[in-house]
Symmetry: C2
Subunit: 303 residues, 2 copies
DNA sequence: ATTAGTTCATACTCGCCGGGTATGGCGTTT
DNA sequence: AAACGCCATACCCGGCGAGTATGAACTAAT
């Protein structure tokens, strides 16, 4: 049976054009090397070297094999090296579930930090809803997910990546648009655009809850799927909209963003989800990077 | 030390996701397979499988190695196969030295026949003079050469590929251009364009000799390097030109080709040269094809 | 709960084969 | 003729790959 040993020895002899010198280079004695070469020639079914008094030279078959043998040997070395790197999470693929407004600011910053440390890990991003993320995590289609307001699941852990302030998006025509800051109470009676309504608890529920806390029932004029659509509706005068701060990265003409002055300002999380018992070394490395990110930015799990 | 055995066994286990079944497929028993996998894991420095009661599944490192292992194994198989084919002359490279008028007809026909039988042998053609061909053969830069009027060398054998008739190229304005056929004697007094003058014996010497045989001293007006230049000079009225028949493949306006009627017509060889003791299987196969070609066309070594 | 049936791991023996030393054959060099 | 270089052969030893028998851990079924 062909073994890497045969190819390694053969390559040494082909390189040195001399069996004795090759044996020296391989740190073995000459006779066993001769034997291995003979075995290989028998396996191929043709001589690989023509022996002369000066040493050996390659036959056509030997020439052909030499080219391939080097390729096999270096590929085998590479395979071992890559397996080692994969074991330490330095190689492979990180599938990430992302969501609407998350992709504007915080998610790219975290992923960029990760990519800087592990440039050989391919990062694939998939936009999906919260429930899709949970499903995909369980099926191992993604390794981590980013989302907000994540409920507790028995098999899924989560870690807050950052806390975001809430701000109000209004059409420039609205009288409140001129204010320096607003209170949630100021929005009583204003037509509200909410999003999204799927996957409880969600941002929609969260905003409605905040309104009730401040003593009024929100007047919902429209529910949409994502923040971008919401802001678009605000721009065309449908009403006002409470959005996380990162939504301001989405500029829409005719929309003014005004901060909320509640103190401490009402905060909304962006969290990272992952499977409790996923042994992937890439995940472990990612979580390490995430912890660094949290301490750099002073993030804790409480609001 | 890593061996192909490790990769082969590992690939089988990775494919079956089960050590026992993989052992069955490999025609060995289960314990040694377990041991080999453990060895491989120790070599890599990380587990490749996570064992469960249902069987095994790949870790990230295992996943990475599996992809590479298959590549190494198939490349190793390919290497053996290609070495075998190279040993039988079915793979590799045939460097051919060719010369001016040879490339018009006979050389392509022989090489095409060879290519049809050995499509995986790369054929490289190099135009060079007779002396360059001999030099290149000795330095193994070419495996075969084609040429005419090849002298005997101690280390080089030659084999006639075909015999060519001689014909006369004349400008249309020349009175002899109207004849059906010419004798060499008819050319007495005509201005002759000869080629080439390097590398004796050469075609130039050959033609001069023929003229003397027919009782006149040739009146040489110009010597040029190759047949194409010679015919070009004839076209512009420099004189007449004796060329091998295959030169008629080079059409030049204003040139008329008239056969020589000597009986048996004076013949010129195209021969194939090769190194006496070149062991290359490709050369052997080429010579075999060449012999076929000779019997098909009834070629012998005598004129 | 017990049993039967998975799966992979361990313990031990056997025999092949890779690697060692010693030596021989052969051709070149001095 | 002698000395040298190179590869091949002969022979021995020990490691390791492969085999059998058995254990350990867990699941599934009765």
């Amino acid at each position: 049976m062909l073994e890497l040993r045969h190819l390694k020895y053969f390559a040494a002899v082909a390189r040195e054009r001399n069996i004795g010198r090759a044996a020296l280079a391989l740190n073995i004695s000459q006779p066993p090397l001769t034997r291995q070469i003979q075995q290989l020639e028998e396996l191929i079914g043709a001589p690989l070297f023509i022996r002369s008094v000066k040493g050996v030279e390659l036959t056509a078959a030997g020439e052909a094999l030499y080219a391939d043998a080097r390729a096999v040997l270096s590929l085998a070395d590479l395979a071992v090296e890559r397996a080692r790197r994969a074991a330490h999470g330095q190689l492979g693929r990180l599938d990430v579930g992302i969501f609407g407004t998350g992709m504007f600011d915080i998610v790219p910053r975290v992923l960029l930090k990760f990519r800087n440390v592990f440039p050989d890990v391919e990062i694939a991003m998939h936009t999906m809803t919260k429930t899709e993320q949970v499903e995909a995590l369980r099926q191992r289609r993604i390794t981590i997910g980013f989302n907000r307001l994540v409920p507790k699941y028995p098999d899924i852990k989560s870690r807050v990546v950052m806390w975001e302030r809430l701000i109000v998006g209004l059409p420039r025509s609205n009288p409140l648009a001129a204010r320096e800051a607003l209170s949630i109470a100021d929005l009583a009676g204003q037509p509200l655009v909410l999003f999204p309504s799927t996957g409880h608890p969600n941002f929609s529920d969260f905003v409605a809850h905040q309104c009730r806390e401040h003593g009024f029932i929100p007047q919902v004029v429209q529910e949409v799927g994502d923040a971008v659509t919401g802001v678009a509706l605000v721009a065309s005068g449908f009403g006002v909209c409470i959005v996380p701060e990162s939504a301001t990265h989405f500029k829409a003409s005719g929309v003014v963003y005004v901060p909320l002055k509640e103190s401490p300002p009402t905060m909304l999380d962006v969290s990272c989800l992952y499977l409790q018992d996923d042994p992937s070394p890439i995940l472990r490395e990612f979580l390490r990077i995430l912890e660094e990110f949290r301490t750099e930015n002073g993030v804790t799990d409480d609001a």
